[in-house]
């Protein structure tokens, strides 16, 4: 489960708006719209797939710019992906983002013994290489 709709509980089907590129061909006064085909790839399909993956990865990363705060439910939800079942915009990751409140120096102190034990395992630091013998 990567995303969850807070309204209906859907965690599978979602919608988002992305940009793609189409090709306009003008022939004899007639205009036709089709996929933009290049010799070795379909530019239209590639842009749709790449842009969709980009926006999903961006929302899953959940930094401040991709989130909005809802004071009603007191939760954060993303601004780009909506639920495809109920149309709700309140789609978020199924857990709250963690905010570490322990200061760094306190964390270092807590882990000092573990670090010292780790350093003891590294014997090469205590045994310097012998460059020459008299």
């Amino acid at each position: 489960m990567k995303l969850l709709c807070l309204k209906c509980g859907n965690y599978t089907y979602f919608e988002t708006d992305i940009t793609t590129v189409k090709e306009i061909s003008a022939n004899g006064g007639l205009i036709s719209i089709d996929n933009a085909l290049f010799p070795d790839f379909d530019y239209t399909e590639d842009t749709i797939r790449d842009n969709l993956k980009d926006i999903v990865d961006y929302v899953l990363r959940q930094d401040d710019s991709s989130l909005a705060f809802d004071p009603e439910t007191e939760t954060y939800y993303n601004k780009f992906i909506t639920c495809a079942r109920c149309g709700s915009e309140k789609v978020t990751k199924p857990f709250k983002p963690k905010h570490r409140i322990v200061p760094l120096h306190q964390e270092l102190e807590e882990n000092r013994k573990e670090f010292e034990a780790l350093r003891k395992e590294r014997t090469d630091e205590n045994n310097l290489p012998i460059l020459w013998e008299p």
Binding site: T12, E23, I24, R49, K53
Partner: protein, 89 residues
């Protein structure tokens, strides 16, 4: 209507950016599958707005902004009208 690239003279193939609404699902293995793609913009409006926005039609060959002439006979009509007016005088 006529679309032409002022840089390379191409008058056949152009690229137009479009906003689409994409419906997708998460597969069990974490990949994405696209279920539906719906166009959100009117192509007619985009062609008419060419040159007024930065979201423009570009040449497929060289990437330059295309030039859209909606009524290519407009100048001829103007010339005819001017000639008729002069003849009237």
């Amino acid at each position: 209507m006529k679309i032409i690239c002022p840089s390379c003279g191409n008058h056949k193939s152009f690229l137009i950016p479009l906003w689409v609404r994409c419906t997708f699902k998460f597969n069990e293995d974490g990949t994405l599958s696209i279920l539906h793609v719906r166009q959100l913009e009117s192509l007619e409006d985009k062609i008419v707005d060419q040159g007024k926005t930065s979201f423009a039609i570009t040449c497929k060959e060289c990437g330059a902004d295309a030039q859209v002439t909606l009524n290519e006979y407009e100048n001829l009509d103007n010339q005819k009208a001017q000639r008729a007016a002069l003849e009237g005088l």
